[in-house]
Symmetry: C2
Subunit: 114 residues, 2 copies
């Protein structure tokens, strides 16, 4: 059975977590995992990048400690490490997701009157 390395809680670094969440593609992945229930294979995300680039972004998120990746047959199931992140850096993830929601709302909103 194939397994993947994950940082423990206290191995998580703020630098790495912030850098991971600074990228829009990766933040999209994290947000979707937060919104949805359960876990999700990489292929279900419909990212605007090639498959190999997607692999790179998932690995970056995993190595930062943002997501957990576990093989399930030929698929990899991804889950948000919300509990671990919340324990390590309280409030950070929620603040980022809230900020993301704010920007997303602006993008779809009628852009004020004009």
């Amino acid at each position: 059975m194939r397994t993947l390395d994950h940082p423990s809680r206290d191995e998580m670094r703020l630098d790495t977590v912030l850098a991971a969440l600074a990228d829009p593609v990766r933040r999209t992945v994290a947000c979707k995992l937060n919104d949805a229930f359960g876990d999700h294979a990489c292929a279900t995300f419909e990212l605007p990048v090639s498959k190999s680039t997607a692999t790179y972004h998932f690995r970056t998120l995993r190595e930062a400690g943002v997501i957990r990746q576990e093989y399930e047959g030929t698929k990899i199931m991804n889950t948000l490490r919300k509990d671990d992140l919340d324990a390590r850096f309280p409030g950070l993830l929620d603040a980022v997701f809230a900020a993301q929601d704010i920007e997303r709302a602006e993008a779809t909103a009628p852009e004020s009157r004009d």
Copy 2:
């Protein structure tokens, strides 16, 4: 009188703010401005980089909207745009500063028993 451009609240982008705060040098600057009262000239920060690199980091922070820079004679006074950031992305700055404190405490702590 020289002036510098700053993004308005609604021009602030999450991408840019997170990228600005992901860098350790820049996060140090932001944290120091948060801890200290009043404003501070660039030269007072004692950063581990050259003067021109420091200029680059201050500009990056300003263009992200994290700090405000205003000329005062030949000096530039820097202030944290806490109110603006809090209005734009509530809780984000505080979570980052709290996380930074946690890591800083670990670095100086006796690294548990061994």
